[in-house]
Point group: D3
Chain length 261, copies 6
């Protein structure tokens, strides 16, 4: 089991923190501690339980030796990566009814799983994956803000573990992984840019942004929303800078969990 605490982010000062303390005492640019408990679901090809502050997500990657019908019909070469996201009923303070109870997925879940799928496809060369489908399943065990960024950051670890396994079994000669992918949220809370919002911060944020990076300087997704207000270019740039630093720390934690540190 790979376990480590992520390193605190650098761009902060004790002064700033004492002026505007965050609910859990973090500085504006601090991440919550992140740990990975690998192989949580041994029947999956790769799996990890990511614990990120009080947010916990089970990420399982299962490799299926078939490709989707549309790929076959259109003759697209290589493989595919697709994701599903769900919140377990006991993950929230008020029990969350299962989506199957009303017979369909919520829009929010669909939006998040489409995001996870795109993020994971940015991590991998689909041609090198070969004619396989990687199912990425993310089930939230405990929700305290940032479940989608935890799902992406954990899914990369599970995907890399699945790739390791396929290589050990001789099913893949070279690694199809293109870049390390991690994600973090950043937002404006009480007039200040803060990194990695927990649930109370997320609920009161004026602006909320999720940033997915592939490697140290490239963006896969930038999704900023003015929930309670709008934001100008200066604010956007400050958020991006903080998110970049956060993703770099997360990638370090991922590498440690994968034994690549």
């Amino acid at each position: 089991m790979a376990e480590l605490d992520s390193q605190p982010n650098d761009n902060r000062t004790a002064a700033a923190a004492s002026e505007f303390p965050r609910p859990d005492g973090r500085l504006p640019g601090d991440l919550r501690p992140v740990r990975f408990q690998n192989h949580i679901a041994p029947h999956a090809t790769g799996s990890t339980l990511v614990e990120w502050g009080n947010t916990r997500v089970i990420c399982g990657v299962t490799i299926d030796e078939v490709i989707p019908r549309w790929m076959k019909e259109q003759g697209v070469p290589g493989g595919w990566v697709t994701a599903e996201y769900s919140m377990l009923p006991y993950s929230t303070h008020q029990r969350k009814p299962r989506e199957v109870s009303r017979g369909r997925q919520e829009g929010r879940s669909q939006e998040i799983q489409r995001l996870i799928g795109r993020a994971m496809r940015a991590a991998i060369d689909l041609r090198k994956l070969g004619p396989r489908t990687a199912w990425v399943d993310c089930d939230v065990l405990q929700a305290d803000g940032g479940t989608r960024t935890a799902a992406i950051t954990g899914s990369y670890v599970a995907l890399a573990l699945a790739v390791q396994k396929l290589r050990k079994e001789g099913l893949l000669k070279e690694s199809p992984l293109l870049a390390q992918v991690a994600a973090v949220s950043v937002g404006v809370v009480a007039g200040r840019v803060v990194l990695d919002l927990d649930y109370p911060e997320d609920s009161s944020a004026d602006v909320d942004m999720n940033v997915v990076m592939a490697g140290e300087s490239n963006f896969v997704e930038v999704q900023g929303t003015g929930e309670k207000g709008t934001f100008d270019e200066a604010c956007l740039n400050a958020m991006l800078a903080s998110a970049k630093a956060g993703c770099r720390s997360l990638m370090e934690a991922q590498r440690a969990a994968l034994g690549e540190a």
Copy 2:
């Protein structure tokens, strides 16, 4: 038709075991090892991860301070206990599609969750529970046979933990728990009665029975099915004797997990 020499589980001998070894080396009357990892889902009122051999089930009990509409309308006093059961997609060797994908629950899931609900209602005095609903959620993380009996045995622990919490918070003056509830499977495999079937045994069993007990000598449910044959009364009695012994061992493990040993 399985008309068999059914050895009762406590009369076993090393000789018998060496003659007919089970896939994992167990004797006919042996349980697989059982462990409980409590508080796996801290937002639930009570929760545990039950690991039973290679079967792992998350059991979460969430107390909701309302009662179902039908109870209100019919003026039924007290509270209610209801259960939901689901297999996570990475719990099986072949990925299992989420039920929400086809918009409805499978018959098997519904049958199991109705069984879990009845079992838990046998553990508790609904009047003493007060006007509350206990939602029992069971999500299978890894499936290797006996997921329904693991779900019941784990749910009792989660339910007892939830009761402990309500009592600590002063919401319950006395415990509504009536009896300790545990469940185990028993069956006829290769002409012999065996306790606690794992997946390979379950797949080849001629007869399969699930037994739910409340306390040391009373049955809540007895569900025996001749999957590939039928069974006579002698066989039924041998299975019941083995299941009884199994449930007693499980109750010991539950008490230990609850600090009541």
Copy 3:
């Protein structure tokens, strides 16, 4: 049309009856009268209307000259038997909304039709049936307790009629029937074991058990539930003895309906 009243069960005494009269005057071990009205649905391959006290169920068996896709894919030889169960809206005192209105089947219906399917598969040698599917449809016209046992007992008659027809048409050279299958309920009402519960008894039973038998001494299914209490081994044995006697009487009635008496 084959019509006969089933013979009363033997294990009773006038004394016992006078002490605790049942709502309709039956003794503890008495069945309600059972009649079969064959060929109720002439487009089915075999059909019967079973009238069992005030419970009436239409049982239709339709033979389809194809097998399910999973059998083809897995190369399983022989045929298949599957069942569907539904309550017609006017079968209950309060009109029961059709399941299609809410777009899905209730858990209870699914559980019952799975039980009927297993029971019918125990009656027949699937290899000898040949590459065919037998659809067993049970629609409850009037419900007064015991609809699932009436459905099973009637379905066997409909299945045997369908087999007779296939044999007459030369589609089956030998009968694939293995054993006669019948089912009955038994329970504990007001502290006493009673056979074949009607609706008022079923509603107040402490323990409820459904027993399916194949032939005179073998069980296919034993499903005992402590609805309002639990039950010990002595009680279980008393229930099984009563159910066995009941099934034997039912099998006599089936044979008469099939002209095999």
Copy 4:
């Protein structure tokens, strides 16, 4: 049980019949025999099994002492009549899958049940019915053409039986029935107008019309469709004349079944 054969229709000649014999030997203006078996579903307020040639439909009317929400909200006085129509799986030569299996009703079923509902509302004064809902359920046991006209003709009998029961119980002081309602099909087959098409005729008809009448000379519904061709005014008039005569015979049969002959 009220049983009678309907009288053959008058407007025919032996000559015409010998020229173009119909599949079952009927003359162009002949109805198939019609019988009603009342009280087939004793838990309904009124019920009948209508047997019309080889078409058999169970018609059940259940009175519910509530009105639909939209009537309450809009303050509409009186009661409501609504219908549901379904074909049982064994009613057709090829087994017909249950609509619940695909989670929704077919368009054809919805269209027919809307027609039955309108027809029944023409039979009754909704104000005099009082604040009640009459659920009209029609389940086809055997289909051989004309299931919708059999459903309407049988539903009127079931509705009248339900009204009789409410009056006996003192719930209705005067009868809310306005007019006797019956329905019949008529069409153009092989260039000739024929009454009451059976399945083979219906399949080959160029024009198909369903006529619902309230009393001897008034139409409730006229639904004519050129399935394989079109029709001119002369043809329409010939069809209407034949249908009128047919409905009159059916009303006689209804009155006999209701003991009003």
Copy 5:
């Protein structure tokens, strides 16, 4: 019951009109103005926006170079025409929730689209269409009575435009069109037969009839319903005469829209 003095539509006089003015000043036999705005949806093979008084319907015909599976399986030669009908949410005074919100189509929509499909199939020789499917989509932009007749009348124009396009592209050597198809409503309002009911008239009509014609004297569909009463043969004949005259005017407008005037 409406037993009425039904004035035929061509015998009207200014006097009659002034006596019983219609809500919008029309005479009993007057149509509302009808206009076609072709090519409203350029990605469709043929399309038109029909504006008929205040009713506006988008009619799009898309040709798909495949045939339905049932045609392939049954070896039916030629092509197919099928229709879908929907009301846009802003088409009614009170916003109409989308059908997808409740997961299924209303019975009314299904009934109308089945009618449109039958009407369009009467316009075309399916064999000459060749192995293609013509999807007829009708979306109501504004509803003021007569949406189904506007949909049919507009769909014929869209279908003819699609045929023109296929012929220009050389995909069809000869026109498969058999007859011009148009539809109009007619009814009894305040004791008088009126043509082409708008929404207020439709809401208060005693009798409502939709007539679909193929060419000047042949009917495809006649659907008359006594919504609030019944109707006798004289009334039916008066309605048919008025509808015939209306359809002839509509066919003139269609020809003008198609440049065939």
Copy 6:
């Protein structure tokens, strides 16, 4: 009817254009022409048909004098704005099956309508709107890239028209509008940042970004996705600059359509 062509965007040079011509001859920073045809759906409170190049979207805003249940339950003051998005079946080159056919909305539609809803809520002061719901319905009549940005830009016009109407009717004393909201896409195609991608460009874009602005310098949403690659900060800044200029041109066109130019 307000009709105008939007002004071409400034930041371009003839040189750049001649080097890399876009499919339709536009310069990298050019918008396609935009026109609004107001009052397309007169039953809506406000409506417009936005034609943006070959993309055409019907935007209808209907005001409902109620608020959602969750607002009532939580006592949230003011009103609500919610959106629904759908593509009409004839909007695409290949007919797009209606979502109701499979019983549920696609994830893409849900994601887009959530985006439209958030964008419109940024345009309006929900407290000043009063206890009302504004339903924003967007139906795509023709799709050629940028349907979501056309939907947002058109919806603002429809919303402003609805507000105008409420003010004329005296239902709103002051305008609840906070800021003008418009949206545009920008992306990287063939290595170059281009504004307002049409369908062929969108299909081949490496990076795709949708930008929603409220007023001239504030962002409501920034959603950038590396579809086929990733993007660095310099690229992000170039895209934002182009999108800003595009939104300013669109706001001019909106003001002209609203008679506020």
